[in-house]
Amino acid sequence: MAKIFGLFFWLLVVNIASGQDKFLTKEGFVSFFSHSIVEDIKADNNQVLSIIDTTTGKIAIQLLMRSFMFEKALMQEHFNENYVESHKYPKATFSGEITNLDEIDDTNTVTEIVGTLTVHGEKKEISTMVDIRMMDDEIVLKGDFKVDVADFKIKIPSIVANNIAKTIKVSFELHHKPYE
């Protein structure tokens, strides 16, 4: 009997310990910005899911395109209906790896993330430098990168071609908490 309880205790410890190496957020922030001579377009998403496995350095991010909030409500509707086709491709995802994760501590460090970004059903390999901070109870990732609209086969009609930038700046800030 004591052996069973010993094993039970040991498994419990393992369970907690193994839980500690994953960090998750459900309220991550991602925004994109398009600058053109006609207008600036910005949209924010505050419901981004992101998870980091500290043992492997792997990271997975996903967000709903419909959760991007625009200043103009009509623009938001058109973004979903006509541009990114949210009914067909509801999510954007990123799956990648943080390099040198074992060297990172609680001071701000710049490191590289490489991985695959999927938007509008189109995959694209990207790599970007990020600001990262790792504490016992939080991992913070911050940064921005640029993507070409054309890479994701998002059609822009010629009538609004001057309103939308060819290259979009994407910014993110993710505060991960321990995931049990």
Binding site: M1, I4, L7, F8, L11, L12, V14, N15, S18, G19, K22, L24, K26, D44, Q47, L49, S50, I51, D53, K58, I59, A60, I61, Q62, L64, R66, M69, F70, E71, K72, A73, L74, M75, Q76, E77, H78, N80, E81, N82, E85, H87, K88, P90, T93, S95, K155, P157, I159, V160, N163, Y179
Partner: protein, 295 residues
């Protein structure tokens, strides 16, 4: 002992369940309720002549200019109706995502109209789906044309007509939407004594998208108890919607000349298949006058 064994197996499974999962599947599990409201059932707040279930989002002011020319079969002398033009201006303001209030004025019979639209139910997809959307519409119109003898001057109340509609729509996938419009109209004044003051009609409409920004629309209202003193036809409309950013252009072919409910539903007298067709258009421009709510 058996209980301990079960507990043992259960505990054993816990950590391995976590280990077996990859990061993507954890995210799938953690993703919250994915019920989404279905948007863009119709391109604009108008199907063609009448309203669609759509309302604008909080803080949007929409300006509408609509035209109906004369009858196409009026011949070359009238340049196929283009010499004759009726216009309606309207302003709609969305107080919130559900409620819109609006005013308009038509040159036809110099009629003012005020109305409210309230989005009662929205079609939803995802975890907790809902099959259709429902919007309530209510309007009052005042005819101000001086088409009476001086001694018969009507009171303000006698100029009024009220319309109530229950708009029910469903989007069947990204390209096809269908709408039903049960309608009730009350006339304070009718042409002759034997004409009904209360009228019931049923409308049906559809939108078929043929490209990302262009759709073909159709709309038909069947009047159950029309006026008896005048030869009233059911209103039919076909058209094309072209959407470009904040603008919507609608090209309309209809047998109705009026652009307000009581007019095209109850008082249309042109026969569509006799060629009494009016060409017209609706142009709308939406302005975000108050910043959209971040939620």
């Amino acid at each position: 002992m058996k209980n301990y064994l079960l507990l043992f197996i259960f505990v054993l499974m816990l950590p391995f369940k976590n280990l077996a999962q990859d990061l993507e599947s954890i995210l799938e599990e953690e993703a919250s309720d994915t019920t989404l409201t279905v948007s863009g059932t119709f391109n604009g707040t108008r199907l063609l002549n009448g309203h669609s279930v759509e309302t604008r989002k909080t803080g949007v002011l929409e300006f509408l200019i609509s035209h109906r020319f004369g009858r196409i079969n009026s011949g070359f002398d009238q340049l196929f109706g283009l010499d004759d033009s009726n216009i309606r201006f309207g302003f709609e303001y969305a107080l919130n995502n559900r409620l819109t209030l609006a005013v308009g004025r038509s040159s036809f019979e110099k009629t003012f109209d005020i109305y409210g639209k309230y989005r009662l139910l929205q079609q939803k997809s995802g975890e907790n789906p809902f099959p259709f959307g429902m919007t309530l519409f209510g309007s009052a119109t005042a005819k101000t044309i001086k088409d009476y003898l001086p001694e018969n001057k009507p009171t303000f109340s006698e100029r009024l007509t009220y319309t109530g509609q229950i708009l029910v729509a469903r989007k069947f996938g990204p390209n096809v939407s269908l709408q039903l419009m049960p309608t009730f109209i009350h006339f304070n004044t009718v042409p002759e004594n034997n004409d009904p003051h209360d009228m019931v009609a049923l409308g049906i409409g559809t939108r078929i998208k043929i490209s990302q920004r262009v759709s073909i629309n159709g709309e038909y209202y069947y009047n159950l108890n029309p006026f008896e003193s005048i030869d009233v036809k059911n209103s039919i409309a076909f058209g094309v919607d072209i959407e470009t950013g904040g603008h919507i252009f609608q090209l309309v072919f209809t047998n109705a000349v009026s652009m307000i409910e009581k007019g095209f539903i109850a008082e249309t007298n042109g026969g569509f298949f006799n060629g009494d067709i009016h060409f017209g258009f609706n142009i709308s421009r939406a302005f975000q006058v108050k910043k959209a709510k971040q939620n």
